[in-house]
């Protein structure tokens, strides 16, 4: 005991120095935008590498599920392609300069994901060198995953749909009323749909899809279906509960959507503001 006290008396200043430095650098990284940006980027590069190693081990255990999902998606796409061929005939040979491609997708693996927090984030194993940028949308086979917010060279981090900052423009497939989808926290399968006016006629089970208004997601990606709605007295908008069609806890392979026209759209939308 005496030795400990003596040690503290003798070298307490080193301890104090270290503690205060930790405190200060914590302040620096937390409250200075430039440093916090660099910190997130470089720590993302380190933790991304670790997470990828970890994930490459863990993913062996659910390979069969993943393969099954991919196979069923393949089957669906093949059916779709065949249907189109039946309608329009075999692949056309002329090029229509009007019908250029608007969206491209980049396949990515989820190497980190959470669903239990109040604000959830995910990390993908693609980054700037794969052409990923800030603000791109991410979808799963059967629904919306989230939005990319930080990009390092090899990794990208994003806010999941299960995050209070995520707002997605969606519409009801049957009658095209549009609103905003957000997540209130809690159940990872439930989201809230707001801004649907009270004159809309709603049916439980109505399909909710992306509206395509924002530059993030193409139109018509299934998000979920309405399971409950109510009109509060005096309100002009419905309170709607949506059950998400995808399971964010089962996200392994996802697609990052690049909108080739995004810049043009944002440019013309910004002109007024």
């Amino acid at each position: 005991m005496q030795n400990i006290l003596f040690f503290l008396y003798r070298y307490g200043y080193v301890l104090l120095f270290v503690l205060l430095q930790i405190f200060c650098i914590n302040l620096v990284v937390r409250f200075n935008p430039k440093q916090s940006d660099i910190f997130i980027k470089s720590s993302g590069a380190v933790s991304g590498w670790l997470l990828e190693r970890y994930d490459s081990v863990v993913q062996f255990f659910n390979l069969s599920d993943v393969a099954e999902n991919l196979a069923s998606e393949n089957a669906r796409l093949r059916t779709q392609a065949m249907t189109f061929q039946e309608i329009y005939g075999p692949a056309s040979t002329h090029t229509d300069s009007n019908a250029t491609q608007q969206y491209t997708m980049v396949a990515a693996r989820v190497i980190n994901n959470s669903i239990a927090n109040l604000d959830n984030y995910f990390t993908l194993n693609v980054g700037a060198r794969d052409g990923i940028q800030k603000g791109l949308g991410v979808i799963q086979t059967d629904g919306v995953m989230g939005i990319i917010t930080d990009v390092s060279n090899r990794y990208a981090r994003g806010i999941s749909l299960l995050n209070r900052d995520t707002k997605i423009s969606v519409s009801i497939q049957r009658n095209h009323f549009f609103g905003t989808l957000s997540w209130p926290g809690g159940n990872p399968k439930r989201a809230k749909l707001s801004d649907i006016p009270k004159h809309a006629d709603l049916v439980i089970g109505d399909l909710v899809v992306t509206s395509g208004f924002s530059a993030l997601f193409p139109q018509g990606i299934t998000v979920g279906k309405i399971i409950n709605f109510e009109l509060k007295e005096g309100s002009n908008f419905y309170d709607i509960d949506v059950e998400l069609s995808n399971d964010l806890s089962q996200a392994h392979y996802v697609y990052v959507i690049k909108n080739l026209y995004a810049e043009e759209q944002l440019e013309i939308e910004d002109q007024r503001n």
Partner: protein, 173 residues
Amino acid sequence: MEGQIARISFRFILLLLIQGLILHRVNLGGEDFNYVQIFVYPFFIMLLPVQTGRILLILLAFLIGISVDIFYDSPGLHASASVFTAFIRPFVLSAVEPRGGYKINSVPTKNQFGFNWFVRYISILLILHLFWYFSLEVFQISRILIVILKTIASFIASILFIGLYVVIFNPKN
């Protein structure tokens, strides 16, 4: 003793106000050479009596650093550099120790130890302080050259300003 505490408190406030209100707005390099900042508040740490306990030294340095941060709106940056400077001050003091050692109650000033000693002592601490500060400010190892450039440019400006301060106020103890 009480006179000393009053003097130190006065110096604390004076240096803080000079740094926070005046030097904060001075941009010597202009747009093109944005590397020069004048730091005078580390002089407060340097001028504390030689016998000041290390813990007290670190705490006082933290206090002035975090106060400067309030003016600069850069939480933690100046505080971290100040704490570092206070931490290494005893080592620097023993490195530049004059023959015969320090007397009790001596204060590291020009009058007590002579001009050469004073310049050497101030320069070592100031350059380390600036280097630590700009490393944190730039925060990227790959831009170490900018850190060094900023350190050197700011060192020249700061040491001149501290010289001016010494000429005007002539701190004795």
